[in-house]
């Protein structure tokens, strides 16, 4: 390994990535083995993507923390990392885990699974990560601001941060977000550079888009149609809120891998880019959304209704609690949200209302990352096209799609 040279910045061999003297020291194990591994991860990513330096980040968000997805290999890595003295240097949140950390027994999570899941969480806590356990870190107290650099992993959170908040983040997979959390930096490439964030294709939505399922289907359709492009979406006039934007992005990132979209007057940067330069235009009609729904939704008799992909906001829980007033669900209803939103909902009485009607509000988890196949659940109704896409592959479960009102009707009436 090359020794750091003075002055303060050194160029590594023949490459384009420059490290400060401080960064070189970390790479050379002067801050311990864990920090050196984290730095090696960031330097390698920087080299692959031709970054010229590392830049400071405001927060990190780590995915791949459900025992179901990372298994023993991931558990071992995080435990080793913690044992070697890894510590976060910026605010760091984590994705949903494989279960409600408090009430796992009641929903049928096997004990061996729960033990391993808890080991992952306590190792992360030791590193300094907060047990936020949500895919919607932008609904927590610390909301990223316009122009801030982040290292987030969850695809639906990445697209929300870039498109709705105007913060800047790439999609950081595997252990890379954890490395950024420890170093407090990320390589400067991709969506951290303004030029790479401009729209490349125009999408004209020609029919009315009216509820969260419509937005979810629209996102899924756009992602599939223009994977690899950055869409500028022109919507017909109508009501739009953050719940719609949350599900639009989640679906688009699922089918197309997008990390950013633009909507006029919503995406903070949309006015910064000249729109007339877009070479291609695609139109979307109701027919396209219907077709998308048919492809994702199966003819089944669901044994459970699942709402909360991405995690429910307080407004969604309020709406569900209103519908739950004075009724009794005849089908199982699972609503998933973050621990943070759960506590607010509890204090406002929403949780009690839903649970009194026979529904359950789970925190820290979501249906897709729980060991559903080991819980006797194999037919799920949901209002999220992201969930409907992942349930068959990740949980060996069939899925069908309805909007929130349709889902609630099914839970209440069984049809």
């Amino acid at each position: 390994m090359k020794k750091p040279k003075s002055p303060t910045i050194t160029k590594r061999e023949s490459r384009t990535l420059y490290l400060t003297a401080e960064e070189e020291k970390i790479l050379n194990r002067e801050s311990g083995e864990a920090a050196a591994t984290a730095m090696r991860l960031l330097v390698t990513m920087g080299e692959i993507f031709d970054a010229d330096r590392l830049i400071p980040i405001k927060s990190a968000q780590i995915s791949g923390i459900s025992y179901k997805t990372i298994g023993d290999a991931g558990l071992e890595f995080i435990k080793d990392f913690s044992r070697l003295g890894a510590k976060t240097s910026v605010y760091t949140s984590i994705n949903p885990t494989g279960m409600d950390l408090d009430n796992w027994k009641e929903i049928g999570i096997p004990e061996d699974f729960a033990i391993n899941q808890k080991k992952i969480i306590s190792a992360l806590n030791e590193i300094g990560v907060e047990s936020t356990c949500t895919c919607t870190p932008y609904l927590l107290e610390k909301i990223p601001k316009y122009g801030e650099h982040l290292a987030w992993a969850e695809s639906s959170a990445v697209i929300y941060a870039n498109s709705v908040l105007g913060a800047m983040t790439n999609r950081e997979g595997g252990p890379i977000a954890l490395a950024s959390a420890i170093i407090g930096k990320t390589p400067l490439y991709g969506f951290h550079i303004k030029e790479n964030r401009k729209p490349t294709i125009s999408i004209d939505v020609q029919d009315e888009i009216k509820n969260e399922l419509d937005f979810s289907l629209l996102g899924f359709y756009i992602g599939k149609k223009v994977s690899g492009e950055i869409p500028l979406i022109n919507l017909p006039t109508g009501f739009i809120n953050n719940i719609f934007l949350k599900t639009l992005g989640a679906a688009m990132a699922t089918s197309g891998g997008q990390a950013i979209y633009h909507i006029k007057d919503i995406t903070p940067e949309s006015k910064d880019f000249k729109q007339e330069k877009l070479r291609e235009k695609i139109t979307v009609k109701r027919y396209d959304l219907n077709e998308t729904k048919e492809a994702l939704s199966q003819e089944i008799d669901p044994d459970i209704v699942f709402i909360g992909c991405p995690h429910c906001s307080i407004e969604e829980i309020e709406e569900i609690s209103e519908i739950s007033r004075g009724i009794r669900f005849v089908k199982k209803l699972y609503v998933c949200t973050s621990r943070h939103v759960w506590k607010i909902a509890k204090s406002k009485g929403y949780i009690d209302k839903i649970e009194k009607a026979g529904g359950r509000v789970l925190k820290d988890t979501c249906m897709v990352v729980t060991p559903l196949e080991r819980m006797g659940i194999s037919r799920v109704m949901t209002n999220s096209s992201k969930a409907a896409y992942y349930l068959p592959t990740l949980c060996k479960s069939k899925a069908c799609l309805r909007d929130l009102k349709g889902c609630m009707n099914y839970a209440i009436n069984g049809n």
Binding site: L41, E47, I48, G64, A73, E76, F77
Partner: protein, 141 residues
């Protein structure tokens, strides 16, 4: 007769020196689900090198594919003693690079030649990724 040793430059990403017998495939590899970390065997059904053991080999393939959790599989292989000695990619991507970084597997890509066409399974390969080069000797026939 001993065959000639050939020296090739590339981009060393995870630094180190490794040597061993080459195992070459023209197909991308998914470490999550595609490789058994306990045995080192390629288990992806229908893969060109299904059933081959990658342990202690110089594994040569175009790039990774599949889930980012595959990085942790490489780490598990390091702990189990089943990891490859070194990896040569045509052009690597974050799953393999992150996996090699945490499993301490020397990794090099962007060689001056196409390693998949020029190197055969069974050839003897030395990776010196710290200096950004590889050497290889064709197996004797």
């Amino acid at each position: 007769m001993r065959s000639m040793e050939i020296k090739i430059k590339g981009r060393g990403l995870i630094h180190g020196i490794a040597q061993g017998e080459a195992l070459v495939t023209s197909q991308p590899i998914s470490f999550l689900g595609g490789v058994d970390p306990k045995t080192g065997l390629i288990i992806e059904h229908g893969h060109e090198i299904e059933g081959s053991n990658i342990t202690k080999k110089i594994l040569i393939f175009p790039n990774g594919k599949g889930s980012t959790v595959g990085s942790y599989t490489l780490f598990a292989m390091a702990k189990n003693g089943t990891k490859p000695a070194g990896i040569i990619n045509r052009k690597t991507e974050p799953i393999i690079a992150a996996g090699c970084a945490i499993a301490k597997i020397p990794l090099i890509d962007n060689l001056e030649i196409d390693p998949i066409k020029q190197i055969d399974t069974g050839d003897f390969v030395i990776i010196n990724s710290s200096e950004g080069l590889i050497k290889f000797k064709k197996k004797e026939t």
